[in-house]
Amino acid sequence: MADTNGTAMSELTFEQVTVRFGTGSRALTAVDSVDLTVPSGQVVGLVGESGSGKSTLARAAVGLTELAGGQILLDGVPLQHRSRGPRPLQLVFQDPYSSLDPRMTIGNSIAEAVPRSADYSRAGEVARLLELVDLDPERASAYPAALSGGQRQRVALARALAGRPEVILADEITSALDVSVQGTVLNLVRDLQRQLHLSMLFISHNLAVVRYVSDYIAVMYLGRIVEFGPAAELLGDPQHPYTRELLAAAPRRGALALDVEELDPALRAVADAEPADPHHPPPGCRFHPRCPIGPLVRPDRELCQTVDPTPDAGRHRHHTACHYAAAALQAVDLVQ
């Protein structure tokens, strides 16, 4: 079954990708010169807060959004977005209630995505795909309304797999689901990825979910990747202060306290700072107004307010976009 995907290389590369929306004073750079590689057959988890540009990056890859700069390559070849025919990249959406056409049986929705040039029967392929996502092929004639959220999300996965893609982009595919069904979808995603050796960009705001499925993790903040590394390493030894904050906010078994003890006022202020306005991103390091080791807490670090740390990221562990990445460790330990 892993036929088409088994041996082929399929590495997805974003090179200096920039996406802009709007013009004039409403202009917004949603994705800003992002470099990111999804190695063949591996899962890269992409985390970051809402509005940081995660979905835009995925939509750009499948051609739903135009690039303002840079390019996206599959195995070194720039993607051309053909308007017809199967696509090597498939996107699975967040909301299984709006991503399936309510007027189409799930079998037809899946069949539509089976390449027309395919030399196998469509009906057989639909049955195979339904089975692949653990749904009874008999249900091909059901309408989405008759399925639960988790089942719909499995249909959406089957539809994405119908084009025999080399890369799957999964955008928050469990966040519209109850925890009780989230598990079934995550298990399935992991099984399928291993079975079909898919390359995958797995987007979620939930670090615990990302950790469960990913080989690598990329952290995005306000349109930029601020840290990238092998999952276990990045979580075990985070370099960027924002990554550390995400980790601190993620659920941990048995950890109950919310640390409400009195912080010193400067730390308190950055801890309660508002997320930045993407229309007016802060100069220098975009994280500086919220950074617990940045200029608002350590006045000697005014460098952060003027100089963007991204170009130098390659010099740091995990490609961390922070001038003080090496120092991040002890300083945050003091805070916590």
Binding site: E49, R87, S99, D101, T184, R211, Y212, A250, V260
Partner: protein
């Protein structure tokens, strides 16, 4: 969520079931039958010239009299039905088809051509329809053909606009994007995905439009611009008998009445369908008021009268009358909240968490029915307190925070003013005092630059800030309890942490009790002292938060805990899952509601519903016949998928 996508067929059946829908439908059917059969049956009578009875009034042989050639007007009106209806339908068809072509053009053509079409349609829509019709009538020439084209094209812009709006709405949905990624071309997108999803409103509007076309057509024929002799439709009949209207009013009125009745039939039917389908999609409005529940609150039982209790609830029920009898999404919930205590409520979606909170806040609107053996807030029985007093009590000592802070503020008023408003009403503060307090409260919830922020509008606040402002609003009085329903679900993890920390510090500093509702058991575990686990409208477990990690006894609680991945989840194992799906409150099984999904269920579970009872230790209640006592070993396996 279940009502979000209803199959169309149900909707149409529901339309026929309403009195208006039924009578409009019957009327329409009658008109259509007449249109088909009247000429077959009566054209002979209608064209029989009788020179002995010219221009006569109503009589036994000619019910509505005769015209200037002695033809029977009654039969002529009946026979004219076909001509009138057919031409109106034809004109409507032209309007709909042209409108569809124009309306879908932007979706099919490229961006630039699409914009041009949109602009043309926008200009055309602005023209008065009758003027357009007259304009086209001149172009196409006098006569039935010209009139049909004129009315058709005059109606097209409105349909084009409607189609454009509908298409834009559907095209923005994810399933269209998904089909695009799957490689579907523009035409296929339109035909397979967009048109089927806009067909209902289009049909409804076409029906209403047919009524309009009928009237317009009658108008043109009446003016002599429509049907030409010897053919006749209602408009022409009216025109012919106009000269003798003072002598034979019936002859002029009858075709007019026919026009009005058929026009109404189309219009009313269209409206009824629109209403029927609309109601169907909202779902909730169809519940009728439930018959008065006669459960009288009993005298307080001593067991529950504890000094420090802020809220005491016993046997709380919320009932709606569904299409198949009453449904009770909250069925007998009992709990108390002590002074400064933080109690969390968890459960899957639809378990009744929000309704419980709304019932406590007295926010269940009339079609819903709240009953409780006891619902005491600060020792006032809320259900028996007169409205005004209750509002005063809740207004000053109770706060509610909702999931979506965007909808909880009035977008047109400044944040500061909105905070001040309630305080002036309930606490009798002057405008100055209220504003000062509002700024002070914004500062208390750590809104930076509170003075400046108070003068801003809700949209100028970020989600997290708005949520803090909402909490600040609750703190305008001196709340003894804050009820927060999914206050952080819409927020990012880091911002979520800010809001939770804020709630926590308010609680510890001011001794305010907290009822926190969330589907996320880890959030509850972080913030609360005690956790109530709800399933199918009942509390199935009530336990201290510290016991959550290891001491949960109810199979559902344990399954929920096991299902949430966290940073320590074993990566080698599949995630634990809860098989099956939550029960529908309208179809509760007898016995334990969780039985169908529970690995420990036996015959007793399937027949007898377990009560919430205190277990081994104080402060831990469980509703289960087989509470699990084995300490939770991670991960619990509940089967996969």
């Amino acid at each position: 969520m279940a009502t979000r996508t209803k199959s169309g067929r149900h909707g149409w059946a529901a339309v026929i079931r309403t009195p208006l829908g039924l009578s409009a439908g019957l009327l329409l059917l009658l008109v259509l039958l007449l249109a088909v059969f009247a000429p077959v049956l009566w054209s002979h009578q209608a064209s029989a010239i009788d020179t002995d009875h010219l221009l006569e009034g109503p009589s036994a042989s000619h019910w509505l009299g005769t015209d200037n050639l002695g033809r029977d007007i009654f039969y002529r009106v009946l026979v004219a039905t076909r001509q009138s209806i057919a031409l109106a339908l034809l004109a409507t068809a032209i309007a709909v088809v042209t409108g569809l072509l124009l309306g879908t053009a932007p979706a099919v053509l490229g961006r630039r051509a699409g914009r041009l079409v949109t602009a043309v349609v926008n200009v055309a829509v602005a023209f008065p329809g009758l003027l357009l019709a007259l304009f086209f009538a001149v172009i196409f020439g006098v006569g039935a053909k010209g009139a049909v084209l004129a009315i058709g094209f005059a109606g097209a812009p409105a349909f084009a606009r409607l189609t454009q709006t509908l298409v834009a709405g559907v095209a923005a949905r994810d399933f269209v994007a998904a089909a695009r990624i799957a490689g579907a071309g523009r035409i296929r997108l339109l035909v397979r995905h967009i048109l089927p999803n806009i067909s209902e409103p289009l049909v409804v509007n076409a029906t209403i439009g047919a009524g309009g076309a009928l009237l317009a057509f009658a108008g043109l024929s009446f003016l002599g611009l429509g049907v030409q002799p010897p053919a006749y439709d209602w408009g022409r009949l009216m025109g012919e008998s106009l000269n003798s209207i003072y002598v034979h009013p019936a002859a002029a009125l009858a075709p007019g009445v026919a026009v009005v009745i058929s026009g109404l039939a189309f219009n009313l039917f269209g409206e009824a369908v629109a209403k029927g389908l609309g109601v169907e999609s909202i779902g909730v409005t169809r519940y009728r008021r439930c018959s008065e529940d006669s459960a009288q609150p009993e005298a307080p039982t001593s067991q529950y009268v504890v000094e420090d209790v802020v809220l005491s609830v016993r046997d709380l029920r919320v009932t709606f009358l569904g299409p198949d009898g009453p449904i009770t999404p909250v069925r007998g919930v009992s709990f108390t909240i002590g002074h400064g205590e933080a109690v969390g409520v968890v459960g899957e979606s639809g378990s009744g968490k929000s309704l419980t909170a709304l019932a406590v806040a007295q926010l269940i609107e009339p079609p819903g029915q709240v009953s409780a053996e006891r619902l005491d807030y600060l020792r006032e029985p809320l259900l028996d307190t007169p409205d005004a007093d209750r509002r005063q009590l809740l207004g000053t000592s109770f706060a509610m925070v909702f999931q979506d802070p965007t909808t909880s503020f009035n977008p047109t008023k400044r944040i500061g003013a909105q905070l001040a408003e309630g305080a002036r009403e309930h606490q009798g503060l002057t405008r100055q005092q209220a504003t000062t307090r509002a700024i002070d409260r914004l500062r208390a919830v750590r809104v930076p630059a509170a003075e400046r922020r108070a003068g801003q509008y809700p949209h100028e606040f970020s989600g997290g800030m708005r949520q803090r402002a909402m909490i600040g609003m609750g703190l305008m009085g001196e709340p003894a309890l804050i009820v927060a329903d999914e206050p952080t679900t819409a927020l990012d993890v880091t911002v979520q942490r800010q809001v939770l920390r804020l709630l926590e510090s308010i609680r510890t500093e001011d001794g305010v009790a907290l009822l926190l509702i969330s589907h996320d058991i880890t959030v509850i575990g972080q913030v609360c002292d005690r956790v109530l686990v709800m399933y199918a409208g009942r509390i199935v477990e009530d336990l201290p938060a510290t016991a959550l990690a290891t001491g949960a006894r109810h199979p559902y609680t344990r399954a929920l805990l096991a299902a949430v991945p966290d940073l320590d989840t074993d990566l080698e194992q599949p995630l634990a899952v809860i098989p099956g799906r939550p029960v529908d409150p309208g179809r509760l099984p007898s016995g334990c509601a969780f039985a169908a999904r529970c690995e420990f269920a036996d015959d007793r579970c399937r027949t007898e519903d377990p009560e919430l009872e205190t277990q081994l230790d104080e402060g831990h209640r469980v509703a289960c016949w087989h509470p699990q006592v084995v300490e939770l070993g991670w991960p619990i396996r509940m089967g996969q998928r």
